[in-house]
Symmetry: C2
Subunit: 333 residues, 2 copies
């Protein structure tokens, strides 16, 4: 197989682990002789979690991807920068500015300040991401799903009052403890995919769906008009990796999100939610964990060729093996 | 003498030392029984050094005043916060954002982020300053000279090319080494004094001019339409303290600024530049250092009653003694 062009739809931390695996596999399978790969990898990242906080534009998923791909992420804590400190945050709290429950590390703030400065110069987010990414040799092109400020809101009742919270407030402050009644993306209908997104999907040899939150990560990307159409039109096979293992989310609180849209927390239910491509859905293939091997046959019968493999992404080697399985399943279409 | 209402025109670091002295003296002369003073002190601060840097609004003189009055300033380095670190700045440099020669400390950045967030909410600078000041019991009301973004620019020739630099770029990057051909304040003619500034001058029992840069600190304040008029109209005596001792600037590079406007670097020349109030100028009195005692008589003959006292502000006690002399000279009008 010649070095492929790979497009990956991804959310934050889980997406980053998977994308590191894709890169790791590509470097081994299609080496460029200098430690990199001749394969071309484009990541289309969720921007629905983005928010304005203390006057700064924060893009949690893009940052998780950037830091993990740069190798400067905090692998113990699971998010943010390694060796982080919170001196600036302490000042903001003392001045009563920002959200005291939303921690902004000092190194992380450097990224937010740089991003915000570039945005205020009038640059679109995609250009800002390219500029920030250029600091490190990522070996991957990182694209926001859209340059538009389309943020995910969550309808909840808090203390008996209906409220519309920013996703991050619901996720971080309430730890998703308030039942989500609906997820909204105000303005999504007027958004367009960022430059390069549709072309990356159209020109891909394979499209992968990372094991990210199907509702607020992948679902948000798919909610940008034009992206679902590009996925339907591409000649490339589209293969997803289940974020659910044995009825539980691998990370995060995906069950709280799936419940809100009436989807069961299971690998098979998420695959059916995405749908078989042969009947207008998204998927040409689906990887489930070995624990969910019993679902493989029924999914196949429903038009979604599935395969059961170990899905826990303990390290780059395991993530790379998952990526290799996904590419193999795509090639088998 | 009953507890007076004192208005002080001030720049940054030197102004802050002087204002600490005014407060120190007031606490001793008009104690409120709780460690404070029944005197009312309003500081009208220069905003000409303010700048947008990396998308953040930085107000150097207001910050020098705020930190010094709060007792959190770095007294060794002479500027910024005590116990400062520069982790965020390192990130900005790595991303290529901002001015690498303009150091933004982490604690200091907390202030800039908070200020910028409040400004982006649509609050005027004076309200933002009040909000940030409320963090500490300053015992002093801090006012920006204006809410308008009037920044001081410097006309220079650099490498043979005429350029208009922001004052901070000229001051910090070039260390004022490029001869200043002129100081400009684009937009000053449309600016108005911040709310409270004109009233503070009108209702003052005494107005003091801190030993700050006569051109780019005090001169910039006086360049805001309405402030010079308020000073001319107030019933209060106006007494200044010389920032020049024995032909040298006490701090900073005031000579480079004075030269540009054709004023000699001497205590007497600065007094004459401000002018005697009796002939339409600013001053009812002028404090010079003992080294400049020879100028006292001629200044008096020129309508500016002067007095020679030790002007080095080594500590709050010395600064308080200078403030007491200034108030005494004012009372003698």
């Amino acid at each position: 197989m010649p070095a492929p062009r790979i497009a990956v739809l991804a959310g934050g931390v889980g997406g980053a682990r998977f994308v590191r695996g894709v890169r790791h596999h590509a470097r081994a399978a299609w080496p460029d002789g200098a430690g990199g790969s001749t394969a071309s990898i484009t990541v289309i990242a969720n921007t629905g979690d983005d928010l304005w906080l203390a006057g700064l534009r924060v893009t949690p998923d893009l940052d998780s991807l950037l830091y993990a791909l740069a190798g400067v992420n905090d692998t113990v804590r699971g998010w943010g920068r390694a060796g982080e400190s919170e001196r600036v945050s302490g000042e903001l709290t003392a001045y009563g500015v920002g959200w005291p429950w939303f921690t902004l590390g000092d190194l992380d703030l450097g990224t937010h300040i740089a991003r915000t400065a570039l945005l205020h110069e009038g640059r679109p987010l995609s250009e800002v991401v390219a500029r920030l990414s250029a600091r490190w040799p990522l070996g991957i092109r990182l694209l926001p799903a859209t340059d538009a400020e389309v943020e995910t809101h969550v309808l909840v009742h808090e203390d008996g009052v209906a409220r519309e919270l920013h996703f991050e407030e619901w996720w971080v402050r309430t730890r998703a403890s308030l039942p989500a009644e609906a997820f909204l993306q105000p303005g999504a209908e007027r958004a367009r995919p960022a430059p390069g997104v549709e072309a990356a999907i159209a020109e891909a040899d394979v499209v992968l769906i990372a094991p990210s939150n199907p509702v607020v990560s992948i679902g948000t990307i798919l909610g940008i008009p034009g992206i679902r159409e590009a996925l339907a039109a591409t000649a490339a096979p589209v293969v997803g990796v289940s974020p659910i293992i044995g009825g539980s989310a691998v990370r995060g609180m995906a069950d709280a999100c799936l419940h809100a849209i009436g989807v069961e927390t299971s690998a098979a239910a998420v695959a059916r939610h995405y749908g078989a491509r042969s009947v207008g859905g998204l998927l040409d293939g689906w990887l489930v964990d070995r624990r969910d091997a019993a679902d493989v046959e029924a999914l196949g019968a429903a038009g979604i060729p599935a395969r059961a493999v170990p899905l826990w992404m303990h390290d780059d080697e395991r993530s790379a093996a998952i990526a290799a399985e996904a590419l193999d399943l795509a090639a088998a279409r």
